[in-house]
Amino acid sequence: MSIANHQAAVPAHAHHDDHAHDHHGPDKGWRRWVLATNHKDIGTMYLLFSLLMFFVGGTMAMVIRAELFKPGLQLVDPMFFNSMTTMHALIMIFGAVMPAFVGLANWMIPLQIGAPDMALPRMNNFSFWILPFAFSLLLGTLLVPGGAPAGGWTMYPPLSLQVGPSFPMLIFAVHLMGASSIMGAINVIVTIMNMRAPGMSLLKMPMFVWSWLITAYLLIAVMPVLAGAVTMLLTDHYFGTTFFEAAGGGDPVMFQHIFWFFGHPEVYIMILPAFGIVSEIIPTFSRKKLFGYDSMVYAIASIAFLSFIVWAHHMFTVGMPLAGQLFFMLATMLIAVPTGVKVFNWTATMFKGSLSFEPPMLFALSFLFLFTIGGFSGLMLAIVPADFQYHDTYFVVAHFHYVLVPGAVFGIMAAVYYWLPKWTGHMYDMKLAKTHFWLSTIFVNVLFFPQHFLGLAGMPRRIPDYNTQFADWNMISSIGGFGFGLSQLLFAYIVFSTIRGGVKASDNVWDEAKVHGLEWTVSSPPPYHSFETPPEVK
């Protein structure tokens, strides 16, 4: 049975309990999706939307890598190239990674805490349906005179103000995305705090739920800060204020401070749920309990706290007092401690475990190795004198792509391969999924590892042309990019063919492994209302 029709079985299930007044299946046709309040339907829409945006943002990445395939300007004009880097980032961050995690939260949090649904289902519907409007507006900027925003996703003034009509569209789209994220985060916290099954104390919650609880607090604290920053940009542009304009007594660097006060926690918003996912998958396929559960929770909370006091490491080169540089350098390095605790615990969970290497585990292991590379290059960038050399080079591009692609994106893919059989009731083709894993892992390294060398050799980021000394590594990186992009078509094929049909998955799904959590106690696919009677947690 597929996601689209699995609820057809539900009225039959509901028949067991005819007298219950609120047992009902989904609406028919478009009403089911447009008026959706069911957490699974909304989760599915978030995940499909995110997949679509992943390909839209990915196409923009292909334009960038095609232009950079060899030195010289060949395919697009420089302004359009800058629009591509800006839009690629905005779409991947706000349209692909964040909605994918919200989709996973929608699907899994009620199932993992034993709740019938999310606490605020109508707000849930609203927070999803804002997104297609926000991204239509953002993508619409490609069609207006003057072109799409091209000043980078960081929107630093005065550069970001030097565009045409796309500017207010960008600001409005960012506000809409922010409103959607805040509503999603409120829903997650309210659900976790009020809807847990009896007996499920906070320190009995699955790690994915913990990671999302902390992420949701980060979202509520920082998305309004981004909204405040872009509101001030808007009033500077149209209403004569001078928040960021030196000529009027304002300070352009203040924008950078405010932006990165949002921006650094944002990085953790995109990685903490992946930590939660990996903490679910590694114990299952190691056939052991997670090593150091409590310390994992405290580590996530510590990382979240530290993420608020490191923002200025993104702007060491603006000129700040030595004491400021030292503070932000040392605070940044401190993040390695809780992150190290997590990597240690994942490794210790596998130690002497009975490991098996199904696709979710392969992606989790790849995450472990490659995210750690991204973490180490982050430590290099934290060192102030070194950062003066690396700043605005391809080394930074390599660093954050290692964190976000084999980090966040592989975390999402691991989650999809882990829970897709539960969602659809079908097992996917293992061979194809493993092929997808190997292609992705090989090409992601071919794509991003050479960018470290380019950055160390001095190639600046966000340029469409470069010195011939950078030609070889750029060509290799572009080949990796095309390979990685094409490999993801296989991912889409696997997902859609599993939704359409396939071998029936059992309720336990990973029968041979040691699954943990309430989600495995319901049928595959789960009933329309997940837990009508709350389960007892011992």
Binding site: I186, G248, I258
Partner: protein
Amino acid sequence: MTSGHDRRRGVRRTALWLALLAAVFYFGFIAMGVWRSLH
């Protein structure tokens, strides 16, 4: 176990506090910008 009524009240109360927190961050940062551009 909490009753349905308590739960509904808890949901409403948590949601309102969180919305207030978000509003404080939004207006607080704009107020900081105003304060900074006046001094």
